[in-house]
C-alpha cells in the first residue's frame, strides 16, 4: 500500500486531478462536436489521458525502478511535444480560415517565426545545455525546454499578431491557445530549472509545480470551451441619418 504523507498526497492529487478533468474535457469536445474543428487537440487530450494510465501504473507499482519510469516518461513526453505542434498548427489554420489573404500572408510570416524560434531553440540547446548532470534524462529536459520555448513563442506570436491585425478569435480556439501558451510558458520555466537543479528535493518540488500548472491549464481549456461564444456585434446604435453622414464623408474621401 502507498504510504501517505502530505507530499505524496499532494503529488497524487496533482497527478490524478488534471487527467480526470481531461476526461471531462474530452466529453465536452465530443458533445459539442468540437473534435471536428480541432481534431488534433482532441487526439492530444485523448493521448494525455491514455498515457497517464501506464505511467501512473509504473509510478504506483513497487517493483518498477526509477530508470524504467524515466524511460516511459520521456518517450510519452516526446510524443506530447509533437502533438502540441500539431495543435498550434490547427489553431493557426482555424484563426486564418476566414481570410483568403491571411491564409497566405500570415501563415508565411508564422513559418518565418517558427524557423527563427527553432534556430534559437537549437542554439540554446547547444550553448545553454543546463546542469552538468550525467543523467541521460537531463537531456530530455533540455529538449523539452527548447520545445516549450518554440511553442510558447509561436503561440505568443499568434496572439499578438491576431491582436495587431484585429483578428477575432473564436472563443474555443482562443481558450485552447491560451491554455497551451500558459502550459508551454510555465514548462519553459520549470524544465529550465529541472535541467539545472538535479537534487531530489528540487526535482520533487518542481514536479509538483509542473503537475499543478497542468491542472490550471486544463481548467482554462474547460472554462473556455464551456463558455458561450461571444457575439461579434457593434455595441453602438447606428442611426440612419448618422450613417448617411458617414456615407457623405466617405464619398468625399474617396473622391479626393
Amino acid at each position: 500500500m502507498l504510504s501517505l504523507n502530505w507530499h505524496r498526497a499532494l503529488s497524487l492529487f496533482l497527478l490524478i486531478a488534471p487527467h480526470v478533468l481531461l476526461g471531462v474535457l474530452a466529453v465536452i469536445l465530443y458533445k459539442r462536436r468540437l473534435y471536428r474543428e480541432f481534431p488534433c487537440f482532441f487526439v492530444y487530450v485523448l493521448y494525455e489521458i491514455a498515457k497517464f494510465i501506464p505511467l501512473f501504473a509504473l509510478y504506483s507499482v513497487q517493483g518498477v525502478t526509477g530508470k524504467q519510469y524515466a524511460y516511459a516518461y520521456c518517450v510519452t513526453l516526446l510524443i506530447s511535444i509533437v502533438l502540441r505542434f500539431g495543435v498550434i498548427d490547427e489553431i493557426s489554420r482555424n484563426l486564418f480560415r476566414e481570410s483568403q489573404f491571411l491564409k497566405v500572408a500570415a501563415r508565411r510570416s508564422l513559418q518565418c517565426v517558427t524557423g527563427l524560434f527553432l534556430g534559437a531553440g537549437a542554439l540554446l540547446a547547444v550553448y545553454a545545455p543546463g546542469g552538468n548532470s550525467a543523467k541521460w534524462y537531463a537531456g530530455i529536459f533540455v529538449v523539452n525546454r527548447g520545445a516549450a520555448m518554440v511553442q510558447s513563442g509561436l503561440l505568443l506570436a499568434l496572439l499578438l499578431f491576431s491582436r495587431f491585425l484585429g483578428l477575432s478569435w473564436r472563443r474555443s480556439a482562443f481558450g485552447i491557445a491560451l491554455g497551451l501558451a500558459v502550459l508551454t510558458s510555465l514548462d519553459l520555466a520549470m524544465f529550465a530549472l529541472r535541467a539545472a537543479f538535479t537534487s531530489e528535493a528540487a526535482a520533487n518540488f518542481l514536479d509538483l509545480l509542473i503537475t499543478g500548472t497542468y491542472l490550471v491549464c486544463v481548467s482554462i481549456w474547460i472554462g473556455y470551451l464551456l463558455a458561450p461564444e461571444l457575439e461579434l456585434v457593434s455595441p453602438t446604435v447606428v442611426a440612419h441619418d448618422e450613417v448617411e453622414t458617414w456615407n457623405r464623408e466617405l464619398q468625399q474621401l474617396i473622391k479626393q
Binding site: E98, Q100, F101, G130, S152, L160, V233, T236, V238
Partner: protein, 185 residues
C-alpha cells in the same frame, strides 16, 4: 559562485514569466474589448489623406533636397517622415478596428452584409500589413534622412479601397439591424 547553467536557467524563468504576463494581459483585454463602428469611422475620417500623400511625395522630397542646405533638408525630412509615420500608424489602428467590424459583418445572416464584411475585413488586413511596411520605411527615413529610399507601398490606394468598402457596409447596415445592437444602459 553561480554557474553559467544557473544563470541560463533563471534567464529562461524570466522569459517564461514575461511571456506569461503578456498572455494574462491579452486574455484580460480580449474580454473587455468591444467593437466600435463609430470610433473606427471617426478615426478613418480624421486622417487627411491628401496631407499624407504630400508628406510622402518623392517629388517634394527631391525639390527640398535641391533647394535646401543639407542640414536643413535633413531636419525637415525627419519632421516630414515622422508626421507621415504618425499618419500611417493611425491608419493601421483604424484598419485593425475595421477588420473587427468586417469580421462581425461577415457572420451576418444577410448575404449582402456578409459579402461586404468579407471585403471590409480583407481590405483592412491588407491595409494593416501595408501600414507596418510603411511605418518601418518611414522610421528608416527618420533615422537616415539622406537615404534615397524607394517609394512607399501603395498605402493610399489600399486606404481608399478600405474606405470604399466601409462606405458600402455603412449603407447596408443602415437598412438592416443585423450588425447594430442598441447600447446597453
Amino acid at each position: 559562485m553561480i554557474s553559467q547553467a544557473m544563470i541560463a536557467a533563471w534567464i529562461f524563468v524570466a522569459v517564461a514569466f514575461f511571456a506569461l504576463g503578456i498572455l494574462v494581459y491579452v486574455a484580460i483585454r480580449s474580454r473587455t474589448r468591444r467593437i466600435d463602428l463609430e470610433k473606427a469611422v471617426q478615426s478613418f475620417r480624421s486622417l487627411d489623406i491628401e496631407a499624407f500623400r504630400n508628406l510622402v511625395d518623392s517629388g517634394e522630397d527631391a525639390f527640398l533636397r535641391d533647394n535646401l542646405p543639407p542640414r536643413k533638408f535633413r531636419e525637415i525630412k525627419r519632421r516630414r517622415a515622422w508626421a507621415a509615420f504618425i499618419y500611417a500608424w493611425e491608419a493601421g489602428r483604424a484598419a485593425a478596428a475595421l477588420a473587427k467590424i468586417g469580421q462581425a459583418a461577415q457572420r451576418s445572416s444577410d448575404p449582402e452584409i456578409a459579402a461586404s464584411g468579407v471585403q471590409v475585413a480583407e481590405n483592412a488586413f491588407r491595409l494593416r500589413l501595408q501600414t507596418i511596411g510603411a511605418c518601418l520605411h518611414l522610421l528608416t527615413e527618420v533615422l537616415l534622412p539622406d537615404l534615397r529610399s524607394p517609394s512607399l507601398p501603395p498605402l493610399v490606394d489600399e486606404y481608399e479601397r478600405a474606405a470604399e468598402t466601409l462606405f458600402r457596409l455603412g449603407r447596408f447596415s443602415s437598412r438592416v439591424q443585423g450588425l447594430a445592437r442598441p447600447k446597453s444602459a
